[in-house]
């Protein structure tokens, strides 16, 4: 998918040739910049409601063609809607999905800890700082572990890596490559694939559905390409069917210290938490 989107041509290995061509620093830098561009695109889609400029850019015929080639199926609600109407619709959809009560904020702390501003927020903030970045508000103020910010951070590191390659700083490039991998393992790799699946299922508008598909596929390819082994802890959690949960008390028991009769009747069914573990 990502190769289609970026227009990267597969080079078939001829018989007897090695299948691992050594790319020139310039070619590697170009690919790194192209990856950074995808990160920026996805960051722009999720960090806040799409701006006029962003929508202009993603509705150009070239961008549309690239999306189609990548297998993204943007519906008429995106391609055919009048510009102002589209901007308004996407702003409302963004709010409903990501920024209002009852939604599912694209924030690592929430996805993995069930609350805003937990360890990932602090970790990412520290990490950005160590790399010389400071998080500043865009149209809105967002968390350091917000999806769009995490993707933006990778884009920034990739651009630094491309610059390192331009000046033939192999050591610097390798260091940045490691930083990016480490970041993926510690942060986006732990949640964005599962989260992207959720957005695909829940989004009403094809733009968010397809951006989530892109994120899903891109994340999987990036992880594979970087040779990382990281499990997604968001939607890949073990879910124990309610029927199989055995607890030391009757969960339907009123919380008024009563219902002794009912609790006694249910006693045979009751097992300990130890058994569950």
């Amino acid at each position: 998918m990502i190769r289609d989107l970026l227009g990267i041509e597969e080079v078939e290995a001829a018989a007897g040739e090695t299948s691992v061509p050594v790319a020139s620093p310039a070619a590697t830098a170009a690919e790194v910049r192209e990856r950074a561009a995808v990160y920026r695109l996805l960051s722009g889609a999720f960090v806040e409601e799409p701006s006029r400029e962003f929508l202009d850019a993603v509705r150009t015929p070239d961008a549309q063609r690239r999306f189609a080639e990548a297998g993204l199926r943007l519906d008429d609600d995106f391609t055919g809607a009048p510009f102002d109407e589209l901007a308004e619709t996407l702003a409302v959809e963004y709010t409903t999905l990501f920024a209002a009560s009852g939604g599912f904020p694209p924030v690592e702390s929430v996805r993995l800890y069930g609350r805003f501003k937990q360890e990932p927020n602090f970790d990412t903030m520290q990490l950005y700082k160590r790399h010389g970045f400071v998080l500043q508000p865009g149209r809105f103020e967002v968390f350091a572990d917000q999806l769009g910010v995490e993707l933006m951070f990778v884009a920034e590191l990739l651009e630094r890596q491309a610059a390192a390659l331009d000046r033939e700083d192999a050591k610097g490039s390798r260091r940045l490559d490691k930083d990016i991998k480490r970041f993926w393992v510690q942060h986006p790799g732990r949640w964005v694939r599962g989260y992207a699946g959720l957005v695909q299922r829940a989004a009403h508008h094809s733009f968010y559905r397809e951006m989530a598909r892109l994120l899903d596929g891109f994340a999987a390819e990036e992880i594979a390409a970087m040779g990382l082994a990281v499990e997604d802890a968001d939607q890949a959690r073990l879910v124990v069917p309610k029927a199989e949960i055995k607890v030391e008390f009757d969960p339907n028991e009123p919380v008024c210290n009563g219902c002794v009769g009912e609790a006694l009747a249910a006693q045979e069914k009751v097992q300990t938490l130890h058994d569950l573990r």
């Binding site: 709010t95 009560s101 805003f116 299922r201 829940a202 969960p251 219902c259």
Partner: protein
Amino acid sequence: MEMPKVTRRTFLKVSAGTGAAAAAAPRLLRAMETELGGKDFGPVTGAERKAIPINCHVCNIQDGAIAYVENDRVVKLEGNPEHVSTRGRLCAKGNAGMWYSYDPDRILYPLKRVGARGEGKWKRITWDEALTELAAKLDAALKEDPNTIMLKYGRQRTGGVIDRFMQTLGSATVLNHTSVCESSKKIAMEPTWGPDIETPDFANTKYVLNFGSNILEAAYFHNPLSQRITEGRVDNHMKIVTFDVRLSNTAGFSDEWIPVHPGTDGAVALAMGHVILRDNLQDSDFINTWTNVTVDELKAHYKQYTPEWASKLSGVPAETIERIAREFATTKPATLFTYRGPCKHLYGSYNEKSCMMLPIMTGNIEKPGGYCLPRGMGWPQPQPQPPKPAHRSYLADHPDYPLAGHKVAHLVPFWIADGKQKINVYISYQDNPVYTNPGSVAVWGKLFRDEKLIPYYVSMSPFMGEETALADLILPDCPYLERWEPESMPNSLWPWLGIRQPVHKSLGESRENRVMMRDIIWKLDPDGKRGMKQYWNFKDGEDYMRHHFDNVPGLKEAGGLDFLKKHGVWPIYGKLDPRTGKVNDKTGREIKAEYGLYMKELSAADMTGTTVEKDGAIHKNGKAIGVRRNGRNYVGFPTGNRLINIRVDAWAEYGFNPMPTFKRIPSHETMKDDELVLVTFKLNVMKQSRTAAVKWLAEIAHSNPMWINTATAAKIGVKTGDLVRVESKVGYLVTKAYVTEGIHPRTVAIPTGFGHWEYGRLATLKLKEKKGAAGHGQDDPDLENVWWEDKGVHPNNIIPAVVDPIGGSQGWYDTVVRVTKAGPNDKYGDTQGDWQKHYEAYKETLRYAYTGDLHRKMHPEMASWGGPESVEHKAPSGH
């Protein structure tokens, strides 16, 4: 080499012979929980966590707390050992407070409604867009009439900011939540002795009469009073007697639980007064010196309230009333405490007054172990201050309830629907009447959905409560851990000042209330030409606090706001003894409270320029500053005549009985055999509407079956867990039964705080229901940990509005219901309230107002009253 053979037995022999040495060995480790109050350490790093003192605000007791911050987030909350009232302890609610800040359903940005009201479609907008839109609406309303801008607040501790805001706009339409809280208690107490609450000295008493309060779980000052009542029991061997319809945990803790028929506490108290006066057990000297009636007048008045009369009304045996009355009067010191039980009824003010008469007539006032005046502290307001609005507001100052100084806000929807006052902009602040008020969604939901009645509704809230879900514009307020607020609460016998301070930067783009209101005013008056901006000349919340605290005498010398930032509270009376849990002074002795406040004598300087009236009142500059008794000049009580007014003449002006009395609730008098009274109550981990979304608390309590007496349940064939249908005159609900001996047979009780249909994923469990469906929020990882399926059933939809015509309180405990086994078509959680029926109930309750046709019938003893035409409406006196 042969090793010495040491067996376990050998060890023990060594131990037996070396006990003294073991005792003398140095002890370098101590138990952290008792020694390290005020400090906390990260379990991984071992590093000391940043400790920020605050005042808790999960409920309104204002416990002293410390927020421990690690990596810029609160990881733990615990009590502040320097706080004299709460002495290092927090309740379960306080321990869970950080959930408010990090709740995934928290509103972090201004939201503008884009669909129909209540449809749930929002668009995030910038603060500038939000303020511009709101300013335009306010501007238009100001041009028509400032009073068309209404603000109703629930739990607000801004220290004057709300009034400043509305006065800046020139609107008097400010409503509170007090009428659904305890306003009739306040209105009974204020004209009688001044303050609106008492401080029972539980720790030092020998006898407690508890009328309808659940101190150990929920009542006003739950944590500090729980500590003192336990001390009184353990250290002082006091006796406690609880009158309550329900066997609460406080009733269970008591020596005697005496179930009473709802609303009859006042009759029991009057009958006890009858016994005390009949048997000459009163403190005649105190009555004759410090009240506005004589013992003889009181004896004559109480003669009518016999134990037999009260027994018939309350179900309490006459001999029990006789016995408890004598015990109370002859045990010294003794005290009394009430909360909502007596006062949340039609004529709740009379009930409260009758109860407070017992410590008054026995002279237990302001004595160690007695019934004491509350101790509080004030703070100055930033200057300049806006003038009071030029015109009264009908809604805030209703002519039918002139004595209800704490307003009658729960009738507002009916008054607006009746066209009594036009509203252009409705602003709510921490107030969820759609959930908390009588009629709930049937009444307030209807009001907010009707764009003709409320053309523009702004909610200042961090959470999507039932009210906020119906707003046009949501301005994201901060939860308490991110706000600056001044505090002082009379929750022990030691007065204190305190603060709430942000423990970290507010999340997202939420703004604390005072900053939000400043920004609205600045938007309305950017260059100050309208004269509004001058009242909002502060940089931020901390700057505002400096105006409050940097010049308070005593605190100023200690460091002003900087002292409070460091300690959270001032003064610090001593050091918490980890062994006793009490505060000791420098000598190691427990600190002692000051008593007899009313007996303080005025100085010669105080007396300069005074006049002394015939009744002894000492006036200076047109105000009573004290009272002369037996030739000495005392400060007396903070009433208009500096005495305790057993006879409240202002009540008589409106045809109410000025003396302690009791009125039976007419609907209870005519109850049929199969009818019961529905009451509500709170569990220890729930407050009104704002705790169901707190995970640690919701895990403890999430369902609320209806308590029903064993005998009553047997009559209708119901056992615990069965579904029951509960019908009142305004609607019905279907819930589960909890059959127990611990409730009066003519009463059923449903705890509140449950059954939300808004307020986030945890309170509603809505997203669990929607799992797999098209929509948002399904597959929420955290909800997978929610093992319960039952969110409870909210009762307020079927509770009609009832107004105490004196105090203005909602009669929460007056609802007559019929309970039956649920039918085949009844589903758990079904609830229906009918606006028209609620409206009829409102009309019915108006009949008891002093202007209503039932007023005279209910007060035959006031036959000489000249009628409503004989009095002129005055500004109410509540605060």
